[in-house]
Symmetry: C2
Subunit: 314 residues, 2 copies
Amino acid sequence: MTAAVTFADVLVAADRIRGLVHSTPVLRSSTIDAELGATVFFKCENLQKVGAFKARGATNAIFSLDPETAAAGVVTHSSGNHGQAVAYAAAMRSIPAWVVMPDDASPVKAEAVAGYGATVVRCPRAERETTARRLADETGATLVHPFDDPAVIAGQGTAALELLEQVDGLDVLVAPVGGGGLLSGTAIAASAIAPEVSIVGAEPAAADDAFRSMLSGTRQPAVPHPVTMCDGLLTALGELTFPILLRHGVSVVLVEEEAVAAACTTFLSTMKIVVEPSGATVLAAMRSHPDRFAGRRVGAIVSGGNTDLAWLRG
Amino acid sequence: MTAAVTFADVLVAADRIRGLVHSTPVLRSSTIDAELGATVFFKCENLQKVGAFKARGATNAIFSLDPETAAAGVVTHSSGNHGQAVAYAAAMRSIPAWVVMPDDASPVKAEAVAGYGATVVRCPRAERETTARRLADETGATLVHPFDDPAVIAGQGTAALELLEQVDGLDVLVAPVGGGGLLSGTAIAASAIAPEVSIVGAEPAAADDAFRSMLSGTRQPAVPHPVTMCDGLLTALGELTFPILLRHGVSVVLVEEEAVAAACTTFLSTMKIVVEPSGATVLAAMRSHPDRFAGRRVGAIVSGGNTDLAWLRG
């Protein structure tokens, strides 16, 4: 039996990370409400530390370590927001961090991680996991998985916890789904506070493994080489996250790339916020599946804002 | 004697516009704090209704009208944020609005105003004021000046009022200055709540009439045809706003265009928010005059987010 994650874990996480991450604002747009015929509350994790909700989970995981374990440092493999989040949280705790990145990851992302004082370790893309494990063995550092870790899931659940404290009477919560850390944390928090709220995951149609996993009841592998701008949603559900989503009756809806790009542009031009494609899936989902949201009070977790704006120029 | 604007007027305005405009979030950036050696609280009026603080003043002015006067509608001349704000507030009060715009104003801006149900009236650029006055005479509509109106100034002061309720112990408040509506409202609110706070206006060097007005103690006319991307800060101080700024010992600092463009980019890439050049002057000011802000707790009013992002592509 793998470690269960409970609502109590989310509450403890919220206490642990308070002051280390932002309590992010909830923004509204009457233009978008009118378009959707819904009342939408955007939980802006793009305005979170490191520009993504990942700061919550990584901070909770790293501040959960006992002092001796923590002193040996932490390691992860991620070229995305989780890598930055681990680097940030390790810096906050003043412990060493190693972030394994593939040789072809952008220099900008490596610089962001190094900017927090972490050591960037380059390796061939196929050797990321083994490199991270080897580093952990050699240094005694603790591996911090991007989503399949109870402390990470509990930390991600604090976004929904905050949102449910900020807004009353929600009918639906929608969050992006990649590995399922954010979505499973959201389900745990919501089911405890507001069990009547239905939970919806937004997933790129080009990387639809979570959609098929939930339909079939069997965890599906990641789509190989998916063509999607949602670079934060490429991974498959985890051993821990998948059963949580099943148990809470979470449903997943698919969004096309054009809808994601349009949603990014709407966030920028109408709401004046920068949202990365993975985060814009929530608006794309509401537009693409209007029957699921019309007439309802919707909490939408805008997961991150780290983007080179290629969708703007393209 | 022109009508004085008091702190009581700001408090009444705050009550009057509550629920009609957003209480905007205060955002922070540890990256920017580290760069400036200051503790900066960004009051995000770019996330306000119509994308700018102008919604506050226009809403207060329009909801201050007695029912009979209001029924005849309102008129203004503005191709910028104030035009949208008047259109928005008139729509909220369900009264007619006419917004006079020069023939060469962008269709996008005219569409935004028309989108709120206001009537856009085109005329040659030189005839905007006379056209607005004629419309007021013909229709009985009330002219709502973009800044030199006590109700507008009191409304703009609610941004600082909110910020001072959200953040304790500020040493400095910095806000952009064009006609001086926002800056004078800020001075009135701050001097009543926190008289120890110094008030700084940020002005483009290319349109430095406020800077020269404050230095000389005599109101200077607007710089003719200024070359600046800060399209919201072209006008000179008003008959009402100038004495308020003088009385409160407000100082004005100048910023160069390059610094404004760089600040826009920092807001976008580091803070994940869209800020128009006029609003980015506050960050440019902190960078260009570090001695005024280093070591201090600074409230910076980010005035608006309505931009075509030309500074990003340029």
